[in-house]
């Protein structure tokens, strides 16, 4: 997955794949039923902005008073190799979901990479604690989920949603999270305490890895809500395109806004 450490994603976006809310799901299914395929958007539809902003303040407070302190504590008490091992272990557990979605998106090469890495890491890498695939020079680990699969099938996101405790999402990705639970054997074979523990570890581990990036992001943003919204959307689209560059040439055209001649504009 493109866990960018230069920019940040909201940790809770990822956690959201695991814990969909029933209510959000209902809304989501209704929306999907009537929306049909939609084109990729460059501007994010945010009709619920005023509510979303309130939820964002709540999530942000939660991050500052709970998640961030926990992440800093985690960094303080663990050596780096332990944190790396945990990260690898958690990523390895995601293999069934990634593989299922590689296949749904008809990506045999990526599916093969997913299987190969899982075999190496699980058998040679002590149950996934060591990313043997990475050490052997395999392509960077990728992430897939059913939200991305729906996007590849041409389903649009629907309105931007800021979900309490979960973070930025949208109806399509919330449905995707629910479907992904079904592809995950641990959902059925492990006790719920194990599943919750694993989600929690995933969130804390991600937040710890991005402490400096969150700090920098908060410091540089003029409007944290708007900045988070565009960042989430851009990272997600890039993930859906599997990292290929977007087609957004129009933003680089000076003349469509008459940018080249400010003097003429001022005269008008």
């Amino acid at each position: 997955m493109a866990v960018s450490s230069f920019v940040i994603t909201d940790v809770t976006a990822r956690a959201g794949r695991a814990r969909p809310l029933a209510g959000a799901l209902l809304v989501a299914s209704l929306w999907l039923a009537c929306a049909g395929p939609a084109a990729a958007q460059t501007e994010i539809a945010d009709p619920l902005e005023s509510v979303n902003r309130k939820v964002f303040v709540f999530n942000d407070t939660l991050d500052q008073y709970v998640l961030e302190p926990v992440a800093r504590g985690f960094r303080f008490v663990t050596p780096r190799f332990v944190r790396t091992g945990l990260r690898n272990f958690i990523d390895n557990l995601k293999t069934p979901v990634v593989l299922a979605n590689d296949l749904f998106q008809a990506e045999p090469t990526r599916a093969t990479q997913t299987i190969g890495r899982f075999m190496f890491n699980t058998i040679v890498g002590v149950g996934g604690l060591v990313d043997v695939g990475g050490l052997l020079g395999m392509p960077e680990r990728h992430h897939e989920d059913f939200g991305q699969t729906l996007a590849v099938y041409g389903i649009g996101t629907g309105p931007y949603l800021m979900v309490p405790f979960i973070g930025p999402s949208n109806p399509r990705d919330l449905v995707g999270s629910a479907v992904d639970l079904v592809f995950d054997p641990l959902t059925f074979i492990a006790p719920s305490s194990v599943n919750y523990g694993r989600r929690g570890a995933d969130i804390v581990s991600f937040r710890e890895a991005n402490i400096e990036n969150f700090d920098e992001f908060r410091r540089s943003s003029l409007d944290l809500y708007a900045a988070t919204r565009t960042l989430t959307e851009q990272l997600r689209s890039s993930e859906i395109r599997n990292g290929a560059p977007p087609d957004q040439d129009s933003i680089y055209d000076e003349d469509i806004y008459d940018l080249e001649d400010p003097a003429a504009d001022a005269a008008n």
Binding site: F6, S220, S221, S250, Y257
Partner: protein, 216 residues
């Protein structure tokens, strides 16, 4: 293989405009003029421009003689050349550029330059002593060339940075956007700035940027 995602359609007028440009370029008389104004930089030239900029940045980050403050200061100086911040600033404002007064435009470009350089420098500063590799270059459209690069960390997955390079006045190659892991500087800042402008006007944006400049 299923095509990954449907791209938004270009507005017809723009498409038509592009067609006309292509036609114009085919006319021998127009050829010389059109070339100078529209040709994308050659991949080799763009690539070596990015390599040079990257090496300058790395040299600063790795210099043990410099304090952290010195490094930030030097990064700001070094980044000013290869990125056309005046153009980037105008592209970010988009349609709001037209409606701003001349005084607002001038103040905005000054404040934006400081804001962008400080942010870029302090983000790069997080990447102490890591390595940088240019991985390729290709024409993005008729004006720009996209240079792909990676920042390699010792314990992190490589970070992809795409540089959009343009030949602004026929002699100097400059970057007009940086795209980090699919996140474009222009798109991000445009989303943020337009939200601020919609809420509190161009003067509101200038006030916010002024406040940042005082803190920095």
């Amino acid at each position: 293989m299923i095509s990954k995602i449907r791209q938004p359609m270009r507005p017809t007028s723009q498409l038509a405009r592009r067609r006309m440009l292509q036609l114009a370029a085919a006319v021998p008389l127009g050829l010389a003029v059109a070339r100078a104004a529209w040709a994308a930089p050659s991949p080799d030239a763009a690539q070596s421009m990015v390599e040079a900029a990257g090496q300058q940045v790395l040299a600063i980050l790795r210099d043990p003689a410099l304090s952290n403050d010195d490094k930030l200061h030097r990064l700001v100086q070094v980044l000013d050349g290869p990125i056309d911040l005046a153009l980037v600033g105008r592209l970010i404002l988009g349609r709001y550029w037209r409606t701003a007064s001349e005084a607002q435009q001038t103040e905005y470009l000054g404040l934006f330059r400081a804001y962008a350089l400080n942010n870029l420098a302090s983000r790069l500063h997080l990447y102490q002593g890591q390595s940088f590799k240019v991985t390729g270059a290709q024409a993005a459209d008729d004006k720009d060339t996209l240079v792909t690069s990676q920042i390699l960390g010792d314990r992190r997955p490589p970070l992809s940075v795409d540089w959009r390079i343009r030949d602004v006045d026929g002699s100097k190659l400059v970057a007009i956007d940086l795209v980090v892991e699919g996140v474009s500087l222009i798109i991000s800042q445009r989303a943020e700035f337009s939200t601020v402008i919609d809420r509190s006007g161009m003067d509101g944006l200038l006030a916010e940027l002024r406040q940042r400049a005082e803190k920095a």
